[in-house]
């Protein structure tokens, strides 16, 4: 049996259904991400599993034990909140020690455990500061340490990085993943940032309007979107309608298709890559430098394609250039309606 089992979970607030029929399992030590746009129900789902919200229907099991109706303090869950939720009346150290003190653990043991976890999150020298005296990144480290020190059965991360600036976010991403792997912690991460989800997760559960619309490894979800929403959310996919898909790619299913911008080549096919037979003529209408990548918008009279080309001196096109597009055959994804 899997470490965490969520069966037919449903939640509604009055007449408003937040999510229904949620089913998934998580293995011990796995890092999974609930990914989706704002309002899709991912945070509510997390809160329901944590016991902070009641569920309307369904079951939650951890290590074979039903926890659906247990109060939060008895579920063995550690949580890091988006807005830190640190206790302002306590120092960093007191915040971290809070869970252990509540459990009535021995004072010396608390001291030892707190010291250990402070080293893990690299907070040495800041432990005696009040929360107001710490930066956003340091606060989130305290929050992480506070959640880790009690050795929870599952670690919940509710958009913990979204209030931080890009540089600190990247550092903390790495730290969280490293700590999670070292401690073998089963972790559920909630985010609306697909890049964050791809970098950190073993598996992604992509949610939309209260449903899990696709799940799999980051590679599977990114390269094989099953529907238009996933294709739109996970990357800058080009969505091609049924008629053009038939014309350009020779598909026969009568479904829309999605092609990643980096799976399209301009004027010449890449070596060793099997491309579609037809070269689609088009005109470059816009180009945009994204650092190491140059993004071209190509109008083919039927559709507009985004094409990403590695930024090198050899292949530079200008707006107005007439070009031919070649599509990687294996990267043409037929989308379910």
């Amino acid at each position: 049996m899997s470490y965490v089992v969520v069966q037919n979970l449903a939640k509604s607030f009055g007449d408003t259904l937040v999510f229904s029929n949620i089913n998934f399992t998580i293995e011990k030590g796995e890092f999974i991400t609930l990914l989706g746009p704002s309002g899709c129900g991912k945070s509510t789902l997390l809160r329901c599993i944590a016991g902070l919200n009641s569920v309307s229907d369904g079951h939650i099991m951890v290590e074979g034990q039903e926890i659906t109706d247990l109060p939060p303090q008895k579920r063995g869950i550690g949580m890091v909140f988006q807005a830190y939720a640190l206790f302002p009346n306590m120092t960093a150290k007191e915040n971290i020690a809070f869970g252990l003190k509540i459990r009535g653990e021995d004072k010396e043991l608390i001291e030892k455990k707190v010291k250990e976890v402070i080293e893990i999150v690299e907070l040495q020298g800041r432990e005696d500061h009040l929360i107001d005296e710490l930066s956003g990144g340091q606060r989130q480290r305290v929050a992480l340490a506070r959640a880790l020190v009690t050795r929870p059965r599952i670690l919940f991360l509710d958009e913990p990085l979204s209030a931080l600036d890009a540089k600190i976010r990247k550092r903390l991403r790495y730290l969280i993943r490293q700590v999670q792997k070292d401690m073998g912690l089963t972790t559920i991460f909630v985010t609306h940032d697909q890049e964050e989800a791809m970098v950190m997760s073993d598996r992604i559960f992509l949610m939309n309007a209260g449903n899990i619309v696709q799940s799999g490894t980051p590679d599977e979800v990114y390269t094989r979107p099953q529907n238009e929403f996933v294709a739109g959310f996970m990357g800058n996919y080009n969505i091609v309608n049924e008629a053009l898909s038939r014309d350009y790619f020779g598909t026969t299913s009568g479904l829309k298709t999605a092609v990643r911008p980096e799976a399209i080549f301009i004027n010449e096919k890449a070596q060793g890559v099997e491309c579609t037979e037809k070269a689609v003529p088009g005109k470059i209408i816009f180009k945009q430098l994204l650092g190491n990548v140059m993004r071209y918008s190509v109008d083919t009279k039927g559709a507009e394609f985004s094409v990403d080309v590695l930024n090198s001196n050899e292949q530079i096109y200008n707006e107005g250039d007439e070009v031919k597009l070649y599509f990687t055959k294996s990267e043409i994804n037929e989308l379910r309606a």
């Binding site: 902070l52 949580m79 206790f87 302002p88 809070f98 509540i102 009690t150």
Partner: protein, 260 residues
């Protein structure tokens, strides 16, 4: 033009300050004077009236009664309102509107009208406490509800209440423990400022005290009223004493309010 404007502003402010301070200075001078009749300044100065005041057992008793009734009324209000506001903000946010309406009521009904109602309510029936110390406590409880509620509601709104309680519960604390260990310490400023404002208001309260208990439970304000004809110098000393006492409280409230 700018200079003229500045001068005008200063004159307006000086006039306002003068209007406010002059009666107080006059009262202070009168309380320190041996005799002040038909002259611009008193004939002489003395601390006699203050010494008389502080040596008068009836005054000290009334001061003690005022302190007691104010502290008890305020304590009752805080003890009752704190958990109520906590629950409203945590679980029943829909009731905030109801509370916003309720807290205006003590202002909407004039004290003379509500004291008649309170006298009728407490004269007989299940709680016959009319004319006693207890009726003042329950009345003062209602008077300070708006100040206590507003001050505490602001404090609750300023902290991330839901996340703090959720975090504490996930770490193993029950809701009451979460309240006492993680929420209450962060409301300290709000509670203290509510106490000081409410105390200052209750300490100067006269109408309810006079109508509901009168001389049967002589508070400082009733004592002031009863001794108004004894000596102008003496009552002036009492007024200045009262003013100084409240002034210290206001200063403390400001200090606490501004403290980071």
């Amino acid at each position: 033009m700018q200079r003229n404007n500045n001068l005008l502003h200063r004159i307006v402010i000086a006039v306002v300050v003068l209007v406010m301070v002059l009666p107080l200075v006059a009262t202070l001078l009168y309380s320190l004077s041996t005799h002040w009749g038909a002259t611009i300044l008193p004939d002489g100065f003395t601390f006699k009236w203050y010494l008389d005041l502080l040596g008068e057992p009836r005054f000290l008793a009334s001061f003690g009664r005022s302190l007691l009734v104010c502290i008890c009324g305020l304590f009752l209000c805080i003890v009752v309102m704190l958990p109520v506001i906590f629950l409203v903000f945590l679980s029943l946010p829909g009731l905030k509107k109801v509370f916003n309406f309720i807290v205006v009521l003590p202002f909407a009904v004039p004290p003379v009208v509500s004291s008649v109602g309170l006298l009728q309510l407490y004269s007989d029936g299940f709680l016959p406490i009319s004319g006693t110390f207890w009726i003042l406590i329950f009345t003062y409880f209602t008077i300070v509800i708006p100040f206590v509620y507003r001050s505490m509601a602001n404090s609750f709104a300023a902290i991330n209440l839901h996340d703090l309680v959720d975090a504490a519960r996930l770490l193993g604390a029950s809701t009451p423990k979460a309240f006492f260990l993680c929420v209450l310490p962060n409301l300290k400023k709000g509670i203290l400022s509510a106490c000081f404002i409410s105390f200052s208001i209750l300490f100067g309260e006269f109408v309810f005290a006079n109508i509901l208990v009168g001389s049967r439970y002589e508070t400082m304000q009733i004592y002031l009223y009863n001794t108004r004809s004894v000596s102008g110098h003496y009552t002036s000393a009492l007024v200045i004493f009262y003013f100084a006492f409240i002034f210290v409280f206001t200063l403390l409230a400001n200090r606490i309010g501004n403290k980071k």
